[in-house]
Symmetry: C2
Subunit: 292 residues, 2 copies
């Protein structure tokens, strides 16, 4: 049975795109997630509190969670200051984002893609010196909400650059849900990531994952309850919902290590914490094995 | 470019699972759909008004729509009386449902699957004598909300029976969204339908369609806006949303004949008519080509 590695991103990518919730709720969510059997959790991001108020209490949250020795925790950082904070806090899996689209990079990080790539080149020795790893997440890999289609060649150039600079891992982010099975095939025939991060903004989230599985990808991000919206389309879905991904993978014969019932209970907790109805189908209807 | 034939089912399967709307709205919806380029519309069902009050005005709706000569219209019927009404009204594409699950058939039609199959055998000569065709939709083909998994062999037996009795076409219905890509492969390796009808109850709708495309299926049902819920899971999605299906198919290089912008406008109309927010991602976020 093939093992598919799910990284749960609700505490960071999910909550970053919701109204702020207290640290208590974040700690409760992370600890509930670490009890589902999931092996990796993107727990916090160390960003300036004015930029992302939702993550202002990252140090507190990280210090208060109960560390599960079977779980690898990671943090997103935007710059050297963030990396220093994350490393000082004891994180050993660090993620940084750069957009394949220059316009999106400017909007998101207030600098050009090339400037971000230079920053990343400077970060890598710092991270490695602390015995940590750096994953580069290439945002807008499947399309940019400002520029439209992104050429797979462009993504491949970024990957070549950061690999040459010493990046340990590469992820492709479908930042605003522009991927389709065709775009997945087009990009992956040009360059392959370690991990794929899909959004379900236009309904293609699971179709994209199935296509990626056929191409041999075995690591995916997902967010409990589909937590997190799309900043450019109010009311639209964000990340693929972990329970929908796991439900489908298990029925297809894949192993994720995750207990689906506990995961659904955790998605229910996520829904209570953010105080809005989440649209995840498996959260609403239960697994296909739940009979009337 | 491969042509994929979409049958739009919002006016019947969609509205049948919503609170009743006036005939005016139904006529407006069907006429808007017939202007999108879609070639087939499941327009009405001729059922007893006490059983399905939402379809009580089927004769009126059917008589008032503007028939587009490029569109094939069909009607669902539950029994001989319904078939007589549909044929008298001028319909020439008739659909009838039978469930692969006996429990679901009893709940839905108040008789056993075998009794329904006998009824269908009796219906076929009547339909053929009027120069019309009969499609048999095998409900719960991918699982039953009461009985659980349905054996592909069971579905194949039903198909063999109705084909022997003279049915013109076969559709498989994923009545409560229990299909996954694995279930699609399992069933289609045993027996193939002319058309597939998927629900998106658990997020797998488009993944199932991609899998079916790989297996050579070229006809699918879909409902504008994803109209229609799941009767066994309040708040959960029902039919796959036509604009999500068409959006993905077009980006994958398939032709559907449908103008996506007009279809989205029609899904917006459907949303106004039923007076509730529909969850279709392409309705909420627009197509991937719509830039910020």
């Amino acid at each position: 049975m093939t093992f598919i590695s799910i990284r749960e991103v609700a505490p960071r990518d999910g909550l970053q795109n919701e109204d702020p919730i207290p640290a208590d709720g974040k700690v409760e969510l992370i600890d509930a997630l670490s009890g589902t059997g999931v092996r990796r959790i993107e727990a916090v991001s160390f960003v300036h509190p004015k930029a992302i108020p939702q993550m202002a209490d990252a140090d507190e949250v990280w210090s208060r969670i109960t560390r599960n020795p079977d779980v690898r925790y990671s943090a997103l950082i935007p710059n050297t200051r963030g990396a220093q904070r994350a490393l000082a806090a004891g994180l050993r899996e660090i993620e940084v984002v750069v957009s394949a689209s220059d316009t999106h990079n400017r909007r998101n990080l207030n600098r050009t893609t090339d400037e971000s790539l230079d920053d990343i080149a400077g970060l890598i020795p710092l991270v490695h010196a602390a015995g940590a790893t750096l994953e580069v997440i290439v945002a807008t890999s499947f399309g940019c909400p400002f520029e439209g289609d992104i050429s797979p060649t462009r993504v491949a150039e970024i990957v070549a650059r950061v690999r040459a600079d010493g990046a340990d891992r590469i992820a492709f982010g479908d930042t605003t849900g522009m991927a389709t099975p065709r775009r997945v095939r087009d990009l992956l025939s040009e360059v392959r990531p370690d991990l794929l991060h899909f959004h379900d903004t236009r309904g293609t989230g699971l179709a994209n994952i199935v296509t990626a599985l056929e191409l041999g990808i075995v690591e995916f991000d997902a967010s409990a309850g589909g937590l997190g919206g799309c900043p450019y389309a109010p009311g639209a879905s964000g990340n693929v919902a972990t329970e929908e991904v796991v439900h489908m993978l298990h029925d297809m014969g894949y192993d994720t290590g995750i207990d689906l019932d506990r995961l659904i209970a955790t998605a229910e907790l996520a829904e209570r914490l953010v105080g809005r109805r989440l649209t995840s189908g498996v959260l609403r209807a239960g697994p296909r094995t739940r009979l009337v």
